[in-house]
Symmetry: C2
Subunit: 548 residues, 2 copies
């Protein structure tokens, strides 16, 4: 009998990736990546006001390209034996759609309107709206619908972005019928059912980010939403009452897309999810380990048996969602709004003279800059750099989300060199990671170790050893370079019926770990002082920010 295959589709911030795997072993057959053209050209974005938008066409073009490409790479006969596709995306990344579920940017008159496009997770134009939602949830006299979001609604999420758009763009407001998350829209497109009222919405994006909870039988009630702003009147009934975990099939591949991709209509398409959830599964998450996707930002997830939490709600994290990661476990979600982005910021800062004077060899130099800085920074003994930093360059996601917080560098003197500051920035990001682990512990959630995945986990032994030392926990680095896509392929195998559940798929298809960083006790001791400094500076700046 011929082997069976599944496809994991992972829509990241910059590109979409497809991974073709053997459903029995998880063996990776082919992989393909496609960058979003409009995004690369910087279109529809304005970093100064944190506006980041992506065009739906970029997604569809990329989707077709990468699936076609992996099939081209695979041996003949593979396409016929693909049994399932699952999809993850960034999020909350919602878009305004018309009655047919078509994003407005794909309809006449809205082609170049950023408000008619997907509003990327890291778009922070809705800070004010998020604050209003949080305030209203505390004061409206009824249930606090943010309680499973740690009590603070984020500007990165569904309702804040929806409300912001309704306020600033009347045309979009008039033309929109409903709103859809990126990870729900792709399966809807692939199955040919984009009707906003009947497409299957995901538990983790369509659910959690929109304050859906089974405890209140769906989305927050109309009365609550209208109280935030009358503009929100009438949207609830054009959204959804149910959400689905990702072991559920959204449907089969539509004839149109089966033809486009070169696959059969027998292929099941799974309900989507946010990338870090599938990443955690791809990296074989287990209870009490914290799965940390370490890229431009981090997404941190701990899963615990639902029974253990009973009715306890964990404060100050981003989410507590039953079945968001593994159907029978409760996913506890946290993260850092900027991690690799902090290093990228510094690189960009130092690049200024090279770019401004258009020096020859600058591209080569820039490509080697971060490794060179890291090498120089590693030579400074722990705690001797003098400088200290706060990692809130993109606000703070966890603990206690606050998008108004900003980054800072302290302890500068005339001898503060680029490597010393780089070291301080690395330490700040890792201290930010420790604050999250400390917070989980303080809330009674045991964390016994870290599973690290994503670019930084693979590329920077310096930062990873620092993580182990600072957290005083073993840090396992996932072997697969595409854990998110691999997790998607595992879910695809479940929804296609190849495995009975995700746990079984993880065991059979997991690719294990390439390294484990163990904490070095002497280093852990040396980081204690700098970490206390970080916490003290953090408290100072936060208090100051609250006064402002």
């Amino acid at each position: 009998m011929m082997s069976k295959f599944t496809i994991g589709l992972d829509f990241g911030t910059d590109s979409v990736r497809a991974l073709l795997v053997n459903a029995a072993t998880g063996g990776e057959i082919a992989c393909s990546v496609h960058g979003y053209a409009r995004w690369r050209a910087g279109k529809y974005c304005n970093a100064e006001v944190n506006q980041f938008r992506q065009h739906p066409e970029d997604y569809l073009i990329g989707l077709e390209a990468v699936v076609r490409d992996i099939l081209r790479q695979a041996p003949a006969g593979t396409a016929e034996n693909v049994i399932g596709i699952s999809v993850d995306t960034t999020g909350s990344t919602p878009v305004a759609v018309d009655r047919s579920g078509t994003p407005l940017a794909m309809t006449a008159g809205f082609e170049d309107n950023p408000d008619a496009m997907f509003i990327l997770w890291k778009d922070h134009t809705a800070i004010q709206e998020a604050e209003e939602i949080t305030r209203h949830a505390k004061n409206w006299g009824g249930k606090d619908f943010t309680r499973f979001e740690g009590g603070i609604y984020s500007s990165e999420w569904f309702w804040a972005k929806l409300l912001r758009t309704l306020r600033v763009d009347e045309k979009v407001r008039q033309a929109a019928f409903s709103w859809v998350e990126h990870c729900d829209w792709i399966p809807a497109v692939l199955t040919g059912n984009t009707d906003p009222l009947t497409m299957k919405r995901s538990r983790c994006a369509g659910g959690h980010k929109a304050m859906w909870h089974k405890a209140w039988h769906g989305l927050p009630p109309e009365a609550f939403l209208r109280g935030i702003d009358p503009l929100l009147t009438g949207w609830r009934e054009r959204l959804y009452d149910h959400t689905y975990t990702s072991d559920t099939a959204a449907g089969n591949l539509s004839p149109e897309w089966a033809e486009k991709l070169g696959l059969s209509t027998e292929v099941t398409v799974g309900v989507g999810a946010l990338d870090c959830h599938f990443g955690a599964v791809g990296a074989q998450i287990e209870p009490y380990l914290l799965s940390k996707v370490m890229g431009t930002s981090t997404c941190d997830i701990v899963v615990v048996p639902a029974a253990e939490l009973k009715d306890k709600v964990i404060k100050g994290i981003c989410g507590q969602v039953d079945g968001s990661v593994i159907p029978d476990l409760t996913g506890l979600e946290a993260g850092q709004s900027a991690f690799g982005d902090v290093y990228a910021w510094f690189k960009h800062l130092l690049a200024w003279p090279l770019e401004h004077f258009a020096l020859e060899g600058r591209e080569e130099a820039l490509s080697r800059l971060l490794p060179a800085l890291e090498q120089a920074a590693a030579k400074t003994p722990i705690g001797q750099s003098g400088a200290a930093a706060l990692d809130w360059f993109n606000g703070r996601r966890t603990p206690d989300a606050n998008q108004k917080l900003t980054g800072a560098i302290f302890g500068l003197n005339l001898a503060s060199s680029a490597p010393l500051i780089y070291r301080a920035l690395c330490e700040a990001t890792v201290f930010g990671a420790k604050r999250i682990v400390d917070h989980f512990m303080a809330e009674g959630v045991t964390v016994k170790g870290i599973i690290a995945l994503g670019g930084i986990a693979q590329k920077s032994p310096f930062v990873m050893q620092m993580c182990a030392d600072v957290l005083d926990l073993p840090v396992k680095v996932a072997k697969s370079e595409q854990s998110c896509a691999l997790g998607a392929a595992m879910f695809a195998a479940v929804t296609a019926g190849y495995y009975p559940d995700v746990e079984t798929a993880m065991k059979a298809m997991g690719s294990g770990f390439e390294t484990t960083y163990q904490p070095i006790p002497a280093n852990t001791a040396r980081y204690a002082g700098p970490y206390r400094n970080y916490c003290r500076y953090a408290a100072l700046v936060e208090r100051e920010n609250t006064i402002t």
Copy 2:
């Protein structure tokens, strides 16, 4: 009758400069600059611990070179008509000397010992000793001998450096007979009387920086000094009881130096002074104007009629010295420990990739970097950069000296670019200037305008307009590019008897102002918010630092 000439010698941080002027008009005949060779090579310094030492040979080689050079440039017959030389230097820059007044570094066995060299003003190795002196002055049960230093003794000054050296270098301690300030040693050398017990010590360096005051008839008493540390026993009697204002002659040029320089032994040599004091005179200081020497750091001086202050002592400044600038007026001294050095730090930071990868064209690029940043920074509207900084990269001199404070940058986000941060750094230095003016005002000292001199005053209209706007005061920029040396030449004319007093010399020899920056009211209003932020962040960091 042939014109008469005087020579102003100005020993700066990096180089010595000689200026030959017409004593009648102040017309500049010739100028010459010589960089210190050992200093340029980075010898005897360690920026990481703020150790900055200069070799006495560097001074003597430079002195001979620049005087010879200006005479070579001048028309024949000029040398014979030079009537006086006066000298200013940085300070407090003291050195350990033997019985003959020779700096130990010029004696056998100490040639390469940094502790046997001049300890440059910006050397901060004696922070602990300065704190001990301040504490002792408050607690010893007698007079507070720091009261004319604003109540806080600085690590930049005489006794702190002396005590530090005695503690860390037993060989130097054994070999030293006395200590001499740089600006007292050069006139001593030129007149051939280097005997530590009889050479004329200056009011502003030998006096003020060593807690000399006429109110207590000289240096602090032995009992006080011994109480700081028994190591200080016996030094007082090998120092001095009297100090002299710079309108006094130290003596005539010695036969040896007359020959070396190509001048006559008729030339009078004036009592020396610190550079910023002569700079203020060279820039025609008048009561209620703040003279600001703006270079790597700033030195700020206001002169007021002694009668006006009566017995009032101004707190939190660096000095209140009768006759330190102009014999009949009281000099009130303040300053910023880093000004241009903050910009230089940022340039050095951004230079890292260029240097590390040895990119071609880097020297040209670096020479144009600060102007390019300034041009880009000027395009950001006031108060819109988001970022804010503290200028304490080299501690804080005024108000309320505190060498433990450090620089910081706040409000950073992923869009914080090099020009935005550069703007924030410029604003921080100018806000630091405003804090000093505000402090003078709060202490009842009227400041009606600024006289700016030094490199930044001449080179950066951007920073100078910012000064006028932030301070809400007119800022006059001295026309002479070497106000310190010009002031020295004015004093030389007085000590040589060409003018009866400094005021007359200033009027006759002053070269006036090249520009006056007037505050732009709309800008002044826009800077109010950012300045409040600066003060708030300053209070935060200072409080934090006090807790540490």
